[in-house]
């Protein structure tokens, strides 16, 4: 798999909260390049800046200094609406608490991402959703509401929602934190499969050692700074 195209990048990025009175440096001079096909884990203790990096890569936050590039576009030059469009078209999100819409079924939750994007017709939406449900082994559960699904099933739906739009980048914040060991492994396996088979680029923030070990690239973060950025070999599941 070639990993030469840059999907996203942080360049000399700083993020300081409460500048002035009691500044908190969440991200300090971070330079990070996310390449197509990366399966990258951001690891570090709580408060180290992992989530800030994810938020900046996800166009949910903007650095106080420095730049964020998504598909070579400098996000600091974009309006809020354009940032929304980048998120809806190019970035998939997987959350620790799954964050599915409770009044929508599993299938509708997956479709929802395409409907927000707005440029895919109903027929193709249905087709893609059915294929995604099948791939996630949820094809018999598409009609169920999130409350009728287990944690692992909900996270699979969340993965489906993130991937249905074929994003350039999937950001996952502690995707296995609320799952038991067996389910975590299953979720990691699914993401890894998607990465290898479809070339989806994943970036996770995680405390999960198992997930860290299975990441192809491990970036250690501490006090808002990148301590190490290593490519791991022999990480097959």
């Amino acid at each position: 798999m070639t990993q030469t195209t840059t999907v996203a990048a942080l360049q000399s990025a700083h993020r300081i909260y409460n500048p002035g009175d009691n500044p908190v440096v969440a991200m300090a001079n971070v330079n990070l390049e996310i390449r197509r096909g990366d399966f990258l884990a951001l690891a570090g203790p709580s408060g180290s800046g992992k989530s800030t990096i994810l938020n900046c890569l996800g166009c949910l936050d903007t650095p106080t200094q420095g730049r964020v590039l998504i598909l070579d576009k400098d996000t600091s030059l974009l309006s809020k609406q354009q940032l929304s469009d980048i998120r809806s078209q190019h970035i998939g999100f997987i959350f620790q608490s799954f964050n599915l819409i409770p009044v929508l079924s599993a299938a509708e939750n997956i479709e929802f991402a395409l409907q927000i994007r707005g440029d895919i017709g109903p027929a193709e939406t249905k087709e893609r959703t059915a294929a995604m449900l099948k791939r996630l082994r949820l094809n018999n559960l598409g009609h169920r509401r999130p409350s009728q699904l287990s944690g692992g099933q909900q996270q699979r739906v969340a993965i489906g929602r993130a991937l249905i739009k074929n994003p350039a980048l999937v950001l996952a914040d502690e995707p296995t934190a609320n799952l038991d060991r067996a389910t975590s492994e299953e979720i990691i396996q699914i993401m890894r499969d998607m990465n290898e088979e479809m070339g989806v680029t994943f970036v996770f923030a995680t405390h999960d050692h198992d997930l860290m070990q299975k990441a192809r690239r491990l970036v250690m973060v501490q006090d808002g700074r990148i301590q190490s950025d290593t490519t791991q070999t022999g990480t097959s599941l």
Binding site: S84, R87, S88, F93, E108, I116, R161
Partner: protein
């Protein structure tokens, strides 16, 4: 998707949605009922004024209206017969009646009462006005007496009365043993409580008046909207006369009714404001409980405008159902009272002056009232929901996703 999502969200907290729905239902329902009620009063008052006293156009000599309270018989309408013929010829289906009003006193030999005397052709009068059963025009010395006057004296059909007035020459004249043929009943105080109607043959003798002399010509039209045209044409054709349309005559009733309408509208507005507060609270609470969900949608790339639209649509769905059901129920109630009427307390003459209010009031429901009420309910809900929706859409997705908003 937005509509489906909004519908499901609206059904999420059913009790709260029901409360909002009911508040709008009540407000909008009351709006339809009160509007139909007030319109009914207006229509009834105007119709009664036309049917009992004024008709569609009233033509009098210039200056007569200023002295009308004294019924000046020394100011006859010039060319009354020609005016009547002119109108009936120019406006097919129109009907014109000449009459002469005068001041008089009636009595039973013991007490007297000041009244308005009126002479006219009784057959034509019966054709022009609905003031009781005037089919039997009688013969000899006879009259028709307002039911209120009859009540004051304890008179009934067949009784006799005395009447005294001034002739057109200014001399006093009286007639005794005038037999009451029928009582005038119209719900118009001027007719019921103040009018004694004499057939022309009796009245002209009493007033020593030549045949054809009249102080006013009244015109009834097949199309009441032609009244202004008739009035203008008559005034242009016959100098020295004034033509008063039913709209001009009933303007005071409409003005009084507009005060009533205003009072009702204030009450309904207060109810709708309470509903609006409920709507705003529902939207705010609904959004507040779903902060993380809204944060998720924003993170997934939903635009803030779409979030606003989603929240407003939820409220609009509830508002549409509440307003439609409220307006529907209000229309059914109004429609019922349009048919069967509602008893209305009699307005004392002293309190109501000459307000022609019948004892049974019919509502006037129109489809426009229902459509307006639904529109108003939905608009109020939209305005009430907009600020909470805008506020909720401004949530920072990062904070919302942390569940800290």
């Amino acid at each position: 998707m937005i509509v489906r999502l909004a519908l499901r969200n609206a059904l999420r907290n059913r009790r709260r949605s029901l409360f909002t729905l009911l508040s709008l239902l009540i407000g909008v329902g009351l709006l339809v009922i009160s509007q139909s009620f007030v319109d009914g009063i207006e229509r009834t008052l105007v119709a009664n004024e036309i049917d009992s006293e004024h008709s569609h156009v009233r033509i009098v000599p210039q200056g007569y209206l200023e002295e009308e309270d004294y019924y000046p018989i020394d100011r006859p309408l010039p060319n009354a017969a020609q005016i009547a013929t002119f109108v009936m010829e120019r406006f097919p289906g129109a009907f014109a009646l000449s009459r002469m009003g005068f001041r008089a006193e009636v009595g039973d030999g013991q007490k007297t009462l000041r009244v308005r005397g009126m002479t006219a052709n009784i057959t034509e009068y019966a054709k022009m006005f609905r003031v009781g059963d005037l089919a039997d025009i009688g013969n000899g010395q006879r009259c028709f007496v307002g039911s209120g006057i009859a009540g004051a004296f304890g008179w009934t059909k067949g009784d006799t009365l005395e009447i005294q007035t001034k002739t057109i020459h200014g001399t006093l004249n009286s007639a005794k043993s005038i037999q009451i043929v029928e009582l005038l009943r119209s719900s118009h105080p001027l007719v019921d409580d103040f009018t004694v109607l004499l057939p022309n043959d009796v009245g002209q003798t009493l007033l020593d008046s030549p045949e054809g002399r009249a102080t006013e010509v009244l015109v009834r039209l097949p199309n009441p909207d032609d009244a202004e045209q008739v009035a203008a044409l008559v005034q242009n054709t016959f100098p020295g006369v004034v033509a008063q349309t039913w709209r001009q005559k009933t303007q005071y009733l409409i003005d009084i009714n507009n005060l009533r309408r205003g009072a009702f509208q204030i009450i309904v507005m207060i109810i709708l404001l309470i509903s609006a507060a409920g709507v705003a609270n529902t939207t705010l609470m609904s959004a507040f409980e779903r902060t993380t969900e809204i944060g998720t949608m924003l993170a997934l790339g939903m635009r803030r405008g779409t979030v606003v639209w989603l929240l407003v649509t939820e409220t609009l769905m509830i508002a549409l159902v509440g307003s439609a059901v409220g307006a529907g129920l209000g229309s059914v109630v109004s429609g019922w009272f349009t048919t069967v009427g509602i008893e209305f307390p009699e307005i004392p003459v002293e309190a109501g002056a000459a307000i022609p209010m019948p004892p049974l009031l019919y509502f006037a429901w129109r489809p426009e009232i229902t459509i307006f009420a639904v529109g108003l309910g939905v608009t109020v809900a939209f305005i009430a929901a907009l600020w909470p929706a805008l506020r909720s859409s401004r949530v920072d997705p990062i904070t919302a996703l942390r569940g800290e908003a």
